[in-house]
Symmetry: C2
Subunit: 612 residues, 2 copies
C-alpha cells in the first residue's frame, strides 16, 4: 500500500501540539459528592448574560484537564492520577515482572521509524484470584466503590438532591421499560452494575481515568473511533485525535490503530486519556502474524490481551460470537461480513475448519480481563453491512451466542456490554433493541449507528444519526459515532468533530425522549436565550458555540447584532419572536395574556374539543 496516501498526520492545529483551553463561553468547574471532599468531579458551566437573571447552566464534561486553563498539560508526563489512592486502598498486587514491550508489539519498527515510548510513569497492577477486583464483583458483594460514588455525582450533574420537576419529566417521557430514577444514588449505581445493566469501564491500570457509566438507566453515551495513520509524525498528533474527540463530547474513545508502532501509540494515548479507552486486540494480534488471518493463534491473542491489559485499556472488543457454524449463514448476504474482526475470525474458522479460538477459550479470556477489570464489549462480527442484510439469520444467531457468552462473563466476575448494528431500516431497529435486552439479560447495548439507508455516502453521520437517536431512545446505552467519511476514507479533524456533535445530538434527543429528569434543562435555557435575543447565550449553550457564532456572523458580523432583536433569516420586520414580544406587550396593555388565557381556560369545553 502507498503509505503516502494515508498520511493524515498533523491532525492537530499545530503539529506536535494538543488542543487546550476552555470551550468558548464555558468554564471548567469541579464538585464533590457529600462527604467526599477528596473527590473532584468535573463539569462545565455556561454563564449567561446578566439580563437573563439565571444561574449558569451546568453540563456534563468529557474533556478532561485539557479544558482547564490552570492545568499544566505535558503529554510526556501524562495526566495526573484520579484513581491512584482508591486503587491503592484495594491492595492490588503490583506486577513486578510485567510482560513489558516486545519488538513485535510495534511491528519491529526501529530507529527513526519507531515512535518513542511515552515516558510517563506507569505501575502495573493485577488483581488476584479470590480478591474483589471488578466493579461487577464489588457490586455483587454489596460494596459501593469510589467509582460508583463518582459516576452517581457525575450523572446528577453535581446536584445534591432531586431537581424540581424531575418526577414530572420522567412521567412525561417514554422509556420502554427502562427505569431512570429522578436522582441517582451511589447504591442505585451499584445495583445496576450488580444486575449487569450497567458498566464502569475502568482498568485498574488506567488511574488517569475520570470514571463514567454506561447503561440504559443513565445518560446515553457516545464513542469516537480514532486510529493511527501509517506515517506518524509525532506522538502528540495521535494524542490530539483523542483530545479533540473528547473536547466535543466523546464519552469513550476506541483506538483502532493498525500497522506499526501501535503499542507505543497506545501508551501515549492511555497516559493522556481521561476517558475509557477501548481496543480490538485482534487487530494487533493480526499484525503480529504478518496480517495473515489463518496464522492467528490463541497464544498470540492471549499474549496481546495481557500486553494491552498491563497498559490500561478499559474495554476490549472480543468477537467471540463469530462461530464456525455462523459463517455459512453469510453466504447469501448482499454485503457479506463487514466487521473487520468478524471477517478475520470467519476467515480463521474456515481456513482451519475449526471452532473460533475466541469462543473455545472464552473462559480464559474472562479470567485475564477480570484480573484487570477490563470490560467486555462483545463484538458483533456479523452485523449487517446493508439494509438488505439487516436482522438476518447470521446477525441474530451471533446475538444469541453473545447472550450465552454474557452469562459466562458475569459468572467469571466481568463487566459486559454488547455491540450492535450497523445498517438497519427504521422499522427494524426496535426489534434489535428488544432482542438484545432479552438475549443478553439487559447488558448494555453499544451500537454503530445504525444507518437507516445505504444511499448517502458522504452523509453517513446523518443516515446513522437518525438510527442512533432512535435506538438510544429505545434503550441503547452507548452510540458509536460515524463520520461523514464512512465508507469512503479516513476522517480528518473536521470529520471527527462533525461525527461527535452529530452523536451528541442523537444521545441528547434520546435522553429527552426517555424522560431523563435533567435533559431538558439545556433545551429550555437555549430556548429562553433565543426568545430573549441573547445571541451569545444561544451560541454558548449549543453543542458547538464556534460554528453557531460563525454561521450567525456570516451575515450579521457586527457586535451590535449580538443583541439585535432579529437575525438575517427573516429580517427585522418578519421576526416572529420580536412580534411575539410586541403581542405580549399589547396584551398586557389590554388585559394581560395570562389572565385572558385563564379566562379562556375556564370556558374550556365550549371553545375546544379536547385532544384525546
Amino acid at each position: 500500500m502507498d503509505d503516502q496516501t494515508l498520511d493524515v498526520s498533523n491532525f492537530g492545529p499545530v503539529p506536535g501540539s494538543v488542543t487546550t483551553g476552555p470551550i468558548e463561553g464555558s468554564a471548567k468547574i469541579w464538585s464533590s459528592p457529600e462527604g467526599r471532599g477528596d473527590m473532584r468531579v468535573p463539569f462545565r458551566e455556561i454563564a449567561l448574560h446578566p439580563s437573563a437573571g439565571e444561574p449558569p447552566v451546568r453540563v456534563y464534561d468529557t474533556s478532561g484537564p485539557y479544558t482547564d486553563p490552570a492545568a499544566a498539560i505535558d503529554v510526556e508526563t501524562g495526566l495526573p492520577s484520579v484513581r491512584g489512592d482508591w486503587l491503592a486502598r484495594r491492595g492490588f498486587a503490583r506486577v513486578e515482572s510485567t510482560r513489558g514491550v516486545k519488538p513485535e508489539d510495534n511491528g519491529f519498527a526501529s530507529g527513526e521509524y519507531l515512535v518513542s515510548p511515552c515516558p510517563a510513569a506507569h505501575r502495573v497492577l493485577r488483581g488476584a484470584t479470590g480478591q474483589l477486583v471488578t466493579q461487577y464483583e464489588f457490586a455483587r458483594a454489596g460494596i459501593i466503590t469510589d467509582e460508583m460514588i463518582y459516576v452517581a455525582h457525575r450523572e446528577n450533574l453535581g446536584r445534591a438532591a432531586m431537581i424540581e420537576g424531575a418526577e414530572a419529566r420522567r412521567a412525561d417521557g417514554e422509556d420502554f421499560g427502562a427505569n431512570i430514577p429522578a436522582f441517582i444514588t451511589p447504591d442505585f449505581v451499584r445495583a445496576e452494575i450488580a444486575a449487569g445493566r450497567a458498566i464502569i469501564p475502568a482498568n485498574i491500570n488506567h488511574p488517569e481515568l475520570e470514571p463514567m457509566i454506561i447503561g440504559r438507566n443513565f445518560l446515553v453515551k457516545i464513542n469516537a473511533n480514532i486510529g493511527n495513520s501509517a506515517v506518524t509524525s509525532s506522538a502528540a498528533d495521535e494524542v490530539e485525535k483523542m483530545v479533540w474527540a473528547i473536547r466535543w463530547g466523546a464519552d469513550t474513545v476506541m483506538d483502532l490503530s493498525t500497522g506499526r508502532n501501535i503499542h507505543n501509540i497506545r501508551d501515549w494515548i492511555l497516559r493522556n486519556a481521561p476517558v475509557p479507552i477501548g481496543t480490538v486486540p485482534l487487530y494487533q494480534a493480526l499484525e503480529k502474524v504478518g496480517g495473515v488471518a489463518e496464522k492467528l493463534s490463541w497464544e498470540v491473542y492471549r499474549d496481546t490481551l495481557i500486553e494491552q491489559a498491563e497498559q490500561g485499556v478499559d474495554y476490549f472488543t472480543i468477537h467471540a460470537g463469530v462461530r464456525l457454524r455462523h459463517v455459512p449463514l453469510t453466504a447469501h448476504r448482499t454485503t457479506g461480513i463487514v466487521s473487520r474482526g468478524g471477517s478475520i475470525m470467519a476467515a480463521w474458522c474456515l481456513a482451519h475448519h475449526r471452532e473460533s479460538f475466541l469462543y473455545e477459550h472464552f473462559e480464559e479470556i474472562c479470567d485475564i480481563m477480570r484480573a484487570y477489570d477490563i470490560s467486555f464489549s462483545l463484538g458483533d462480527g456479523l452485523r449487517p453491512g446493508s439494509i438488505a442484510d439487516a436482522n438476518d439469520a447470521a446477525q441474530f444467531a451471533e446475538l444469541e451466542t453473545l447472550g450465552e457468552l454474557t452469562k459466562i462473563a458475569w459468572a467469571k466476575g466481568c463487566q459486559v456490554m454488547i455491540e450492535g448494528p450497523g445498517h438497519v431500516p427504521m422499522h427494524k431497529i426496535k426489534v434489535n433493541m428488544e432482542k438484545q435486552l432479552r438475549e443478553c439479560g439487559e447488558a448494555p447495548f453499544y451500537t454503530l449507528g445504525p444507518l437507516t439507508t445505504d444511499i448517502a455516502p458522504g452523509y453517513d453521520h446523518i443516515t446513522s444519526g437518525i438510527g442512533a437517536a432512535m435506538i438510544g431512545w429505545y434503550g441503547c446505552a452507548m452510540l458509536c459515532y460515524v463520520t461523514p467519511k464512512e465508507h469512503l476514507g479516513l476522517p480528518d479533524r473536521s470529520d471527527v468533530k462533525t461525527g461527535v456533535i452529530t452523536y451528541r445530538i442523537a444521545a441528547h434527543a434520546a435522553d429527552l425522549a426517555k424522560g431523563h429528569p435533567a435533559a431538558q434543562i439545556r433545551d429550555d435555557a437555549i430556548s429562553r436565550a433565543r426568545f430573549e435575543f441573547r445571541w451569545e447565550d444561544q451560541f454558548n449553550l449549543g453543542l458547538d458555540p464556534d460554528t453557531a457564532r460563525r454561521f450567525h456572523d456570516a451575515t450579521l458580523p457586527k457586535e451590535a447584532h449580538k443583541t439585535a432583536h432579529f437575525c438575517s433569516m427573516c429580517g427585522p420586520k418578519f421576526c416572529s419572536m420580536k412580534i411575539s414580544h410586541d403581542i405580549r406587550a399589547e396584551a398586557e396593555r389590554q388585559d394581560g395574556l395570562a389572565r385572558m388565557s385563564e379566562s379562556f381556560a375556564e370556558q374550556g369545553g365550549k371553545l375546544y374539543v379536547p385532544a384525546d
Copy 2:
C-alpha cells in the same frame, strides 16, 4: 436594516448564470405511460460499470430540463410548456383583463432598483363557476386527468408493471395504516385525491410544471425554501436558488421572498420552475402595508391572492387557523409564536381585538384558489418553537381549527395539505401524526422537521432530519427542509445543498421503513457496488456523487484506487469486504458456502434458538 449585511447575491457559481448539465454519472431519460406517447415523464438513470452485469438504476428526478444536456436553457424565455395542451382541452377562459402588476407589488422599486419583469410569454387562465377546475373536482367526478396519469407513471419510476418482490417489500414494511399499493395506477391516484388523501399542486397558470403528487401513499416528498436577498444583483441569481435546490432533489420550492421586487422575482422563478412553487401571500400583503401588521386588511390580502394566482403559484400557505381565541394560549410559552405568518396574524387579531380576517373570509379564499387550482397549505402559525412548547394547547387548538377548515375547503372543491411542527422531542412526534390524520380527515401532512432537540444551532438540519425521517415513516407526506443555518442566518449555496440532501435521506429512510415497493432497489444497488469495489458506481448511486468522490479522493486520489479492493478507512489488510470475498472463495473450494448454509439450515433447531 443594513442591506449590506444581507447581500447573499451571487448565489450561483457564476453571477447571472444557472447550473446546468447532468448529475455526475447520470443521464436524463424520459418515459411515456402506455398509450400516451405525447407525455414525457422525466427520470434519471445511473449507468453501472459493465462488470456489474446490471441494468442502469432509474431514480426519481426533480431537476427539470436543467440536467438535460440537449435543453436550451434561457431564463428570459422560461421553460417549455408541459401542460399547455392538457389545460387547453379543459377550456378554461383566458383572462383578458388581468390584474396585472401594480407598483406596490414590487415595493415601489423603480429605476436601477427595479428587477426587470421576466419577458417569458404567459397567458392567464381562470376556471369558471360550475366548471371542473381542480384535480380534486375532477377526481370526485371520477375523471382521470393528464396530471394523474403523469404522476402515476412518475411514482412507478416509469415501470409498466409491478416490480418483482413488490408485495413482499410492502409486507416487510410498517406503514402505520397507510396503503401503498405495489403498483400505482392512474385510478388509484384519482381515488386518493378524491378522498383528500393526496394533492397535485398545479396552478392552471403554471404550464411549465412537471406534475408531482403529495400524499402518504406515495413517495415521501421534500420542500426547500428560498427567498430573495435584500440586494439583488440579477434575476438569474434568484432562479439559480430554485434550480440548485431541485438539482439535489427538492420536490417543491417555497419562495419566501420579502422586501422589494418580490413580484418580478416570483415571475422569473415561476416561468423557470418545473416543480410546484409555494408562497405565503401574507408576506407580500404585509409589504404592501409598510410592514405594519395591524394595517393588514382583507382587501389587500385578497388582491395579493389574485396577483399571485395569475402568476401561477401552485400552493399558498394560509394561516387561517390562528384565531383570536388562540392567542392567549401562547401566554405561558417558552418561545411564544415562532411562525412569521402566525405572529403577524396574532398581532393583527390582538390589535383589532377581532377574529382573524383569514378565518372569517375563508370561503372567499377557497373560491379564489379553486378558480386556479391553487392548493391550500394550511399554515401552522402556532407551531412550537422549542421542545418546551411541543404539543401544547395552542398548537393542538390550531390543528383542530385546521381540521374544520379542511372540510370547508374540500366542500369548495379545493386541494388541501396541512402544515405541522416544528420542535418536538422524539416521543411526542407520533401523536402529532395521529392527531393530524384524525382531525384533518387524512389530508396530507407537511411538516418542518421536527427538530428533536434545541441544543445544536449550526446543526439543525440534523436535529430536524431525525424528526423528519420519523414523521415521514409515521405518515407525513412532505418534509420541509431545514438548513444548517436555521436560527442563525440566511443559508448560502452549500447550506441549501446540505439541507436538501439531508431531507432526501429522511424521505428515503421513511420510504424504506414504510415498505415502499421500489425504495430498496437503490440501497441494494449501492450495497452490491460497495461489496464489489465498484467505487465509481458507489459514488454515482449516492445522493451526492460529487461529495462522495471528493471524500474518497482526499486520501486515495489515483485512478487505480477507483477499482482497489480497499479504501483508506481500514487499508488493504483489514478490509472486511475483501476478506469476505476470500472467505467465499475458500468456502467454494471447500464445499460451497451456499450448500453449507443449507446443510446448517436443515439442522435448524438443533443449532439455534429461533428468534421470536
